[in-house]
């Protein structure tokens, strides 16, 4: 089997890549949700989308912690 990097490096690459993206995603959508104003249909769509983004970000970070055996 071709190994581009060692299994340990690969595991940390997956963890950091996922964790950093998910963490930024969580914070970014949380900020956008907090700043959102209005009650029209498009704003409601955005609100729902940002809320889903926050949930996905949280899932990503929790998965990384599980992967590293932290939780």
């Amino acid at each position: 089997m071709t190994q581009l990097v060692s299994p340990l490096v690969f595991k940390w690459f997956l963890t950091l890549f996922t964790g950093i993206v998910a963490g930024i995603w969580f914070v970014w959508d949380a900020i956008k949700l907090a700043r959102l104003r209005g009650n029209d249909a498009v704003t409601a769509d955005k609100r729902f989308g940002y809320a889903i983004g926050i949930v996905i970000g949280a899932i990503g970070v929790i998965g990384c912690l599980k992967f590293q055996g932290v939780i």
Binding site: M1, T2, Q3, L4, V5, F10, L14, T15, T18, W25, D29, A41, D45, K46, F48, G49, Y50, A51, I52, G53, V55, I56, I59, G60, I62, G63, K66, F67
Partner: protein, 179 residues
């Protein structure tokens, strides 16, 4: 087929659509890597596919060639690339087949609703769903979780109800609410 955007005609033969189409080139090496149990290479190819997904939007902005066709082509490419990759990793035993079947089923339902939405509008258009954009990005990650053997059950089984909730929300917006 050229589409008009803000009074300007945009040819479908533009750099952004070329980047979108180039994503299909990652599928044969991905297939080879999975079939030969090359987890790291498979992860690399799906990563390239995901990065090209981001690059096509950037190309559209740089070359000023955004179009309704381009958005639709991007969504179709997402469905084909991620659908193929999900089936591949499930068939190879790297992902739970039942969860993947549910995701594919929900994805097909989403595609069908988008076709109905375009018919309601009377033109080729992609419904802008902020939630589904995030779900599609998560789908790209799902394949990476499978190729990297990273908490596969956790990520896949949380994804299914999340996608179902977004689909129900979008169904109302696309099929019931006024266009």
């Amino acid at each position: 087929m050229a589409t008009a955007t803000a009074g300007r005609v945009v040819s479908p033969w533009n750099p952004a659509n070329a980047v979108t189409a180039s994503r299909f080139l990652t599928l044969p090496p991905l297939y080879w890597a999975v079939m030969h149990d090359q987890r790291q290479l498979a992860t690399l190819f799906i990563l390239i596919c995901g990065l090209l997904d981001k690059a096509d939007g950037l190309a559209a902005k740089i070359f000023n060639c955004r179009s309704a066709f381009g958005e639709l082509f991007d969504a179709i490419t997402d469905a084909i690339c991620y659908g193929f990759a999900l089936i591949l990793v499930a068939a190879h035993g790297w992902a739970p087949p039942v969860a993947v079947a549910l995701v594919i089923g929900l994805g097909l339902a989403n595609a069908g609703m988008r076709a109905l939405y375009a018919r309601r509008l009377g033109r080729a258009a992609n419904y802008k769903s902020y939630a589904m954009e995030r779900v599609v990005a998560y789908t790209g990650y799902l394949i990476g979780f499978a190729t990297g053997a990273m908490e596969v059950g956790f990520y896949y089984w949380l994804f299914v109800p999340l996608m179902a909730v977004v689909l129900v929300h979008d169904a109302k917006r696309m099929l019931v609410d006024p266009v």
